[in-house]
């Protein structure tokens, strides 16, 4: 399935989940996601990640709603616990496969969603820089530690230095892109033409309609 279509389904359902106060619906989302994961052949690390990551925010909300809630707070506590899992498991359907599908996703954004090429290629460029950004932050902190200063998260210096790097890198990358033939606003031809299959549209419509129908009964 085209990753952008997958993304659209996931985002619409996630937005609706925000306003749906139902444990059952959340559990159905988690169940369906789990079922789909069986076909995605996840590594055990990814399974562990799916189970452990939502525990903290989930139980954080659960405890505070149990202690300090009013009205139907016990129900809401369970809604929040399952909602956090639903968000992550639903999102994982898109994000866990994104490393393999990234190029198609961005190409679809450009060719089908008509996002301007400037944004798409800026995204491509910056995403490739992510490991370097991580390294640069370490460098900034170590460099100041060598002068006997520790840069904390609440100090403007840390951000200032990060922004200096961002300014320099953005200029270099912009020059690099232009020198490799990138022209802003110019029409582009594509080596790989993305097409969205009719089947994908059909799946999107069926899933979204099915989900709306699911909301009709008065679930717990």
């Amino acid at each position: 399935m085209n990753p952008l279509m997958k993304f659209a389904i996931v985002m619409v359902i996630a937005l609706e989940l925000t306003f749906i106060k139902s444990v059952t619906i959340n559990l159905i989302i988690i169940g369906v996601s789990a079922f789909l994961y069986l076909f995605l052949k996840l590594s055990w690390k990814q399974w562990l990640w799916l189970f452990i990551l939502p525990l903290l925010p989930g139980f954080g909300s659960w405890f505070s709603l149990m202690y300090f809630g009013t009205g139907d707070h016990v129900h809401m506590a369970w809604v929040m616990l399952t909602r956090v899992f639903a968000y992550l498991w639903l999102g994982g359907l898109f994000t866990l496969k994104l490393t393999e599908e990234r190029d198609v996703f961005l190409a679809t954004l450009e060719q089908k969603a008509k996002l301007s090429a400037t944004f798409v290629y800026a995204l491509v460029g910056v995403l490739n820089f992510m490991p370097a950004v991580n390294q640069q932050i370490k460098t900034i902190r170590v460099a100041s530690q060598m002068r006997g200063q520790t840069l904390h998260i609440w100090q403007a210096q840390l951000y200032f230095k990060a922004i200096l790097s961002a300014i320099r890198w953005s200029q270099n990358l912009a020059e690099g892109m232009v020198s490799h033939g990138f022209t802003e606003g110019a029409p582009r031809t594509h080596l790989q033409v993305v097409s969205i299959a009719k089947r994908d549209w059909l799946i999107l419509i069926i899933i979204l309609i099915a989900f709306q129908l699911l909301l009709i009964p008065n679930w717990y």
């Binding site: 996931v10 985002m11 996630a14 989940l17 925000t18 306003f19 106060k21 990640w49 903290l56 925010p57 954080g60 909300s61 405890f63 505070s64 709603l65 202690y67 300090f68 809630g69 009013t70 009205g71 139907d72 809401m76 809604v79 929040m80 968000y87 992550l88 498991w89 639903l90 999102g91 994000t95 301007s116 400037t118 944004f119 800026a122 995204l123 460029g125 910056v126 820089f129 992510m130 950004v133 991580n134 640069q136 932050i137 609440w154 403007a156 210096q157 951000y159 990060a162 922004i163 200096l164 790097s165 961002a166 300014i167 890198w169 953005s170 200029q171 990358l173 232009v178 990138f182 606003g185």
Partner: protein, 193 residues
């Protein structure tokens, strides 16, 4: 949102888009480093039922990408784009909220940007930065009423959470951003036009 769509091809220069994206990624990573600290804090507060305070206390930090993008690029839409970008980074790094991170990023970006919009996108100084901290607090709090189930909290706790969030935004999104802006101006690295 209309203005962004109209101006996308003409006013968004490649260099600006890249700068915005890099700032977002840097902020995303700085707060990713903070992740373990946040987790310890919230784990400690969880059994007492006070975990939302950890979240509210640090929210300002996660929202810094928006006002920083606004003061650096000085364009309508920069705040929203910056924050959505930062949220995307957080999601890709494996944030706890999954896809909801992107939705929250959008809400946070709009909330922060509203402050600059109220002043007509003409003022990019401390007045606008603090206005964005105020609107950011209000907009994200309304979002939390739904997403985090805040509607079920007692009134007293809601007031306490709101104040915590406001202080966090005033510091990270206000005081700190103003300080950063001063440093940037002193260094003279961003003279344009």
């Amino acid at each position: 949102m209309q203005t962004i769509l109209k101006s996308k091809s003409t006013r968004w220069a490649l260099r600006d888009v890249l700068l915005l994206a890099f700032v977002a990624v840097f902020i995303g990573f700085i707060f990713w480093v903070l992740g373990p600290v946040y987790n310890i804090l919230s784990a400690a507060l969880t059994p007492m039922g006070l975990e939302p305070f950890a979240n509210n206390l640090l929210l300002g930090g996660w929202m810094m990408a928006a006002p920083l993008a606004s003061i650096l690029i000085k364009q309508a839409g920069a705040g929203v784009l910056g924050e959505v970008f930062a949220a995307a980074v957080e999601m890709l790094l494996g944030g706890q909220w999954g896809v909801a991170t992107l939705l929250s990023g959008l809400v946070q970006g709009v909330g922060s940007e509203a402050g600059f919009a109220i002043l007509g996108y003409k003022n990019w100084r401390w007045q606008a930065i603090f206005a964005s901290a105020v609107t950011g607090t209000i907009v994200t709090f309304v979002w939390s009423l739904f997403r985090d189930g805040y509607t079920s909290y007692s009134f007293g706790l809601l007031v306490a959470l709101f104040i915590t969030r406001f202080i966090s935004l005033l510091f990270f999104g206000g005081v700190l951003v103003v300080a950063i802006q001063k440093l940037i101006e002193k260094a003279g690295v961003l003279r344009r036009d």
